[in-house]
Amino acid sequence: MSQTKIAVKSGFSHRYAPYIFPMPAVIAIIVIIAFPLTYTVRMSLYDWFMMSRALPYFVGMKNYYRLLFEDSRFLYTVVRTFYFVALAVPLQTVLGLACALIFNKQFLGRGTLRVIFILPMMATPVAIALIWIMIFHPMVGLGKYVMSLAGLSSLWIHSPKTVIPSLVMVDTWQWTPIMMLIILGGLAALPQESFEAALVDGATKWQRFIYITLPLLRPFILVAILFRLIDCLKTFDIIYIMTQGGPGEASETINIYLFNTAFYWFHMGYASSIVVIFLAIILGFSLILIKTRGAK
């Protein structure tokens, strides 16, 4: 008798457990992600200039039409954002991989050097940006002095031509360590057997690297690239502090344009439509990368 009762009870909890246990997480996700997202999508269909008596009014897809077909400034920000990413991510991947391989070796002072190497990552981007502003100062900056030693001159962030590469340099200086840390973790987890087998077969160092290390590291490198890619697309702080998108529009990325539209010019509806497009871009990239990671 008592056994059947227990069976009934467990039947009840079995039936509802899948709904009850994830409930707190579902509620949290709705509050933190789904609501703001839906609200933003809804806002993007309205025209709302905050500094006027006019209340938000529904305009349908007009914001999107203007954004994609009439606002050349926005399209340039997309191009610039991709330019930034295309320079920064490969550079950081190669440097991060190289550094990981170096720090994977045993040598004197490795621990100390590793700590020093990851220090930039620990610092606040705002503080870093302020330091680099001084380095890039066109008259008294260290950057000018270094270039003059090589007999060159560069205005760094003060010229439309060199501003994005200069910002990429700062971003690389700060974020290569995270690339290195992820790949280093991967290196430590590699199975030693394959290397021993290769050694027995007489593979050279280079062959071992190309045919064993790299393929085994691939998932780790892809994760690292995914992280950096999304972060680079979203880069805001260093650009905002160092150039505010200038000179002119030369370093205005999607994020800077978005920020200005919302918080300098107070066009909330239009800014929301930028957010939605930007989200679509980031999601697209993430999906491609996740797919690539899944494919063997």
Binding site: F49, M51, P138, E249, Y264
Partner: protein, 443 residues
């Protein structure tokens, strides 16, 4: 019968007493009383500024005087604007007063219906302290505080006309007179420029957005305005193009390298490091030039009006003032606070911190003349500037975006773009901006 009579007399006396008390109460209500709103709490959002640093440490005096508790938040201008806009757009009743950066927010905030007009309060002797003296503000200052419909929308905290800073030691040494016209200034710039030694004739803002006021002031000097007689945008008028051309030509030929990214900070640090002969910016930045810890140009800096152009001489003006929120639940208490913060005593405190203020009595106050950290030519230039003061940006709702549009055109002009084409393009964008943000203009 006797009793009845006594009763009547008592009643009469009581009535008389009540009447007298009532009359006394009425009389005192017509007099100004600082304690009238004792026990109220008000909240204020203010911009970070030396003027706030000079006054806010004295807020406990106001709290003691009035029994009103003041809570305040001080934020940098841009962040303060974001906070104000968000709170006002959501009609928050807990924001009572705020500082507006009127060169940007004057029309936008008023048109959005966020500001309480102060005209009736200023006329009300029970709300305005007898010694407040609104007429003590110079006519230009009162004019700037007033909207086109005659509503007074803020009380002036600080006013920052733009002037020319120059190296008087170098000018004296080379026998150069202070430039009176834009042409003379260009001629001097040609003589003094020495890039081989990292010394440049001029420095002023090149960073987009920040640079727009420089052009606006030049526009006035070339006789132009933001709109033509029909009210259409006219920033590509011959005056507008000449102003942009002068602006860009001077920086390209005689300006410091990298100036396209210079805001006031980079400009003033260049000037203080003895790398520029002339610097054009707000008068409020002068304090640091006379500070030996920061500056190499202490005692070497001359202060004068920016040269005149063919269209006359104007001092473009910027600054901050106190407004009362339309949605505040304690408007009168908030008003009491903003009159206190801009009264003669506090205006003197602001002035003594090296900031420009708009009260005649303060500018003529012997204490001020004696104790001001600034040299006499600074004070004379400031007083002269107030006479020719003119709001240095257009009075439209979307000032920020306007600054961006013109600012980008100016940067491209410095980089060598075709000035006329750039200004034509900017004017087109300006028109589109007005259509989007102020459609009522075109109805």
């Amino acid at each position: 019968m006797k009793k009845e009579c006594k009763k009547r007399i008592v009643l009469f006396l009581v009535a008389l007493l009540v009447g007298a008390l009532g009359a006394m109460a009425a009389a005192s209500a017509e007099e100004f009383n600082w304690q009238r709103f004792a026990g109220t709490r008000i909240r204020l959002v203010a911009d970070k500024h030396p003027a706030a640093d000079a006054v806010y440490p004295h807020i406990p005096e106001f709290e003691k005087l009035t029994g009103i508790k003041v809570e305040y938040e001080i934020l940098p201008e841009i962040q303060a604007r974001q906070k104000k806009v968000v709170e006002l757009a959501s009609r928050s009743a807990t924001l009572d007063a705020f500082v507006i950066a009127w060169h940007v927010e004057k029309k936008g905030f008023y048109d959005a219906g966020w500001i309480t007009p102060l005209n009736n309060y200023l006329k009300d002797p029970t709300l305005t302290a007898p010694d407040y003296d609104w007429e003590d503000f110079t006519p230009a200052v009162r004019d700037i505080s007033t909207q086109p419909d005659d509503s007074v929308t803020f009380l002036m905290q600080q006013i920052d006309p733009w002037i020319l800073y120059y190296r008087k030691d170098i000018f004296r040494q080379r026998g150069i007179a202070i430039p009176q016209t834009l042409d003379e200034m260009e001629e001097i710039a040609r003589k003094l420029n020495d890039p081989a030694n990292d010394f440049y004739s001029v420095v002023y803002r090149g960073l987009k957005y920040a640079n727009t006021p420089v052009w606006c002031i030049l526009l006035f000097k070339y006789g132009g305005d933001f709109f033509d007689k029909e009210g259409e945008p006219a920033i590509n008028s011959p005056a507008g193009i000449k102003a942009a051309d002068w602006y860009a030509r001077m920086l390209r030929n005689y300006g410091a390298p990298g100036v396209v990214n210079f805001n006031w900070y980079e400009c003033s640090s260049t000037f203080m490091a003895e790398r520029a002969a002339m610097y054009f910016d707000g008068i409020g930045f002068a304090g640091q030039f006379e500070d030996p810890e920061k500056s190499k140009v202490v005692g070497k800096t001359g202060y004068t009006l920016f040269p005149a152009g063919p269209g006359g001489r104007y001092a473009g003006t910027f600054g901050g003032g106190y407004s009362v929120s339309r949605y505040s639940a304690n408007k009168e208490a908030a008003y009491l606070f903003i009159t206190w913060a801009t009264n003669k005593e506090n205006t003197l405190r602001v002035a003594l911190s090296g900031v420009g203020t708009g009260r005649v009595s303060v500018l003529q106050n012997p204490d001020y003349i004696r104790e001001s950290p600034m040299p006499s030519d600074w004070r004379e230039t400031f007083i002269e500037s107030l006479k020719i003061a003119r709001l240095g940006l257009p009075e439209i709702a979307a000032v920020g975006e306007f600054r961006d549009i013109v600012g980008i055109a100016l940067v491209n002009a410095i980089e060598g773009g075709d000035v006329k084409a750039l200004m034509d393009e900017a004017n087109k964008k300006f028109k589109q901006l007005l259509l989007r943000t102020e459609p009522e203009r075109y109805r």
